[in-house]
Amino acid sequence: MDFSLTEEQTMFRDLFRDFAEKEVAKIAEHVDRSEEPPLDLYKKAAAQGFFGAPIPEAYGGVGIDWLSYTLLAEELGKHCLSTAVTIAIHTSLAAMSILDVGTEEQKQKHLPAMAAGEVIGAFALTEPDAGSDPGSLTTRADKVEGGYRLNGTKNWVSNAGLGGVMVVFASTHPGARHKGISAFVVANDAPGVMIGYREKTLGLRGMDIRTVYLEDCFVPEANRLNGENEGWAIVVRAFDRVRLTLAAVALGAAQTALALGVTFAAERKQFGVQIAHKQAMQNYVADTATDIEALRGLVRHAAWLAGSGQEFGRAASMAKYFGGRVAKDAANKMLQVHGGYGFSDEYAISRYYRDVRALRLLGGTDEIQRYVVARAAFEEKGLRIQP
């Protein structure tokens, strides 16, 4: 077994790291305070190909492998979670869904612009009454001449305010739950689409998360992704991808939290010595470092499964579930290391503490990830469990 990165992967990592340290790190605090998505940064990132990293070159992307893609998420997650999650949703949920099941025409139409960052992707699944249970969504797509008419409300749609396109899920067969869901690619400025309220959140304040209203929004048949009533397959695979990506973001965030804590503990003196000499501080650091390595193992393994074309859903759920916790614990312990300074906006650690909390909710909550993992375990015994 060889744990090292290939030469190419190393090269990509260095590229991502270099960009994240030079460009992303410096804007993160401003993004959090101003709550403005850093559009200039997106342009720079797009110029480097980061909005289309895993998209094949044929569609204008860079065509990197899964492991390298998780390295991108990790390096971005180290410095600005808002940016990392924005790109994760754009890529793993929106663009790769089109890549996954789109027709050649759909791919040609959307992917080059998305890979270039000119069009930012969103994924409109959640509704006010359908969160953990998206199968119960009530947005309707009624068949009309030449296409469908969409009506309903979506909320917590990341990136929806950034222009671009959304993959919208709606019911084409009411009552059939997930067996009656279809997916559509809808431009944010299409008639009948209203981009509504922007969420004000604990963390990830640089993300543009919206409520989206669809009112008699006409979508031509050509914009349907996958077959009619075959939208759920898209959701399942998109979740696998985004979970793995978010786990990598968590891995990055946890590492920065640890680094901030270690630096602080090495400098701060109390009782005549650096607090690093106190075992309580050492234990926080040791626990966090151990968690991070365990998480890295999960992420790498899941990325290997994904990259080698194997089923990776269970591994992605484990990594995401564990990652959300590790990142939260890391930020929490390292905030404690900072003492009173940890509560101050002048120190970055409190931003990490706020930002990472979302990782235990989006892309499926902790409880849902555990269900997915348990389901896989019982399936081996031939037992099917329900959420």
Binding site: E199, Q270, L362
Partner: protein, 388 residues
């Protein structure tokens, strides 16, 4: 054994809860957003006695002891941790140092205004280089004729920007260090050379202003020495010990609010065709919260009883602060999880609770310091002296 509170305390809790629900709850969100508590609210709270709960009636206090004080902090922190922190710093440590060791004359001079909330107190111990190591303070107080000249800087002082009377610890005999050579002084905000800094920008507790305090040759008359010259550190540590019990009570209120919100939401929110209350993942989170809260409640009220009955309480007070802050953090974290994405929204109370709760694990002695305090109390019994 009798676990019922005396009837006057039930009546007091009822009145406080009514006031807090009617007058504070509707503005709690605005207090967070605007980073200020309306002075009118402070005045009205003062009128019913919030600012002097444990202190005697003759000073305008409520005369309700530590028990009454814990009840008030519990009720207040359920709804508005910012206001609870202002009062906690005012009563629990600020006025408390005056009350414990101040001269009769000083008490008569300041306590009536402080107990009625017309004046606000602060407790200034922490310095840039003296946080957990409070004995590492460097601020100087030099005797000059009949006055002391105070020079130095304090930081992270709750109520700093709004305090009228500041109890501050400074070295009167640097050779002896803080233990034996430090003295508490009551300083008035108008005195020349004293300037509070701007409120710090913090993750939570936005309504509770915290700032640096600068002392530039502030002349303090000898009458304003609180307690004995050289024994100020002891005064401050005593106040902090008592403060920890009431901080525990505050965290109890916060945790209870998290539990109640979780129960309400679990009953209302439906997923997979039924209220999420039917999911064991949710049930167990709620059960764990309730169990931890009950344990905390027993500890907090027992500690209040120890204090009111003159029993040793230092270890238990440390436990209140330690267990309480960690329970409250766990509870608000679970509440946030149960609320799903809504828990992250600033339009809803859970998010504010999450930001506000975290500091209790840090201030009034970090939880690591509490563990040291508890362990040394225990080890002392077997003849081992622990150093932090």
């Amino acid at each position: 054994m009798n676990y019922d509170l005396p009837p006057e305390y039930n009546a007091l809790r009822r009145m406080l809860r009514e006031f807090i629900t009617e007058e504070i709850a509707p503005v709690a969100k605005k207090i967070d957003e605007d980073s200020v508590v309306p002075p009118e609210l402070i005045r009205r709270m003062g009128d019913v006695g919030f600012f002097g709960v444990p202190f005697p009636r003759e000073y305008g206090g409520m005369g309700a002891g530590e028990l009454g004080y814990c009840i008030m902090m519990e009720e207040l922190n359920r709804v508005c941790p910012s206001v609870a922190t202002i009062i906690g710093a005012h009563i629990g440590i600020g006025v408390m140092s005056l009350y414990l060791d101040g001269s009769k004359a000083l008490q008569q001079k300041y306590m009536p205004d402080l107990c009625s909330g017309r004046k606000i107190a602060a407790f200034a111990l922490t310095e840039p280089n003296a946080g957990s190591d409070a004995a590492g303070i460097q601020m100087r107080a030099t005797l000059e004729g009949d006055s002391y000249i105070l020079d130095g800087q304090k930081m992270w002082i709750t109520n700093g920007p709004i305090a009228d009377v500041i109890n501050v610890l400074a070295l009167t005999d640097p050779a002896l260090g803080a233990r034996g050579g430090a003295t508490v002084f009551a300083v008035e905000r108008e005195w020349a050379g004293y300037t509070p800094g701007k409120p710090e920008s913090k993750m939570g507790l936005h309504g509770s202003p915290t700032s640096l305090l600068n002392f530039d040759e502030v002349r303090v008359p000898r009458e304003n020495v609180v307690g004995q010259i050289g024994l100020g550190f002891v005064t401050f540590m005593k106040a902090l010990d008592i403060g920890r019990a009431s901080l525990g009570a505050a965290t109890l209120g916060g945790a209870q609010a998290s539990l109640e919100a979780s129960i309400r939401w679990a009953r209302t929110r439906q997923q997979f065709g039924r209220p999420i209350a039917h999911m064991q993942s949710i049930q167990f989170m709620i059960a764990d919260m309730a169990a931890e809260i009950e344990a905390l409640r027993a500890l907090v009220y027992r500690t209040a009883w120890l204090i009111d009955n003159g029993r040793p309480f230092i270890k238990e007070a440390g436990m209140c602060k330690l267990l309480g802050s960690e329970t409250a953090s766990r509870c608000i974290d679970r509440a946030l999880q149960i609320h799903g994405a809504l828990g992250l929204s600033r339009d809803f109370t859970i998010e504010r609770g999450f930001r506000d709760a975290r500091i209790s694990e840090i201030f009034e002695g970090t939880n690591e310091i509490q563990r040291i305090v508890i362990a040394s109390e225990l080890m002392q019994g077997v003849g081992v002296r622990i150093r932090p």
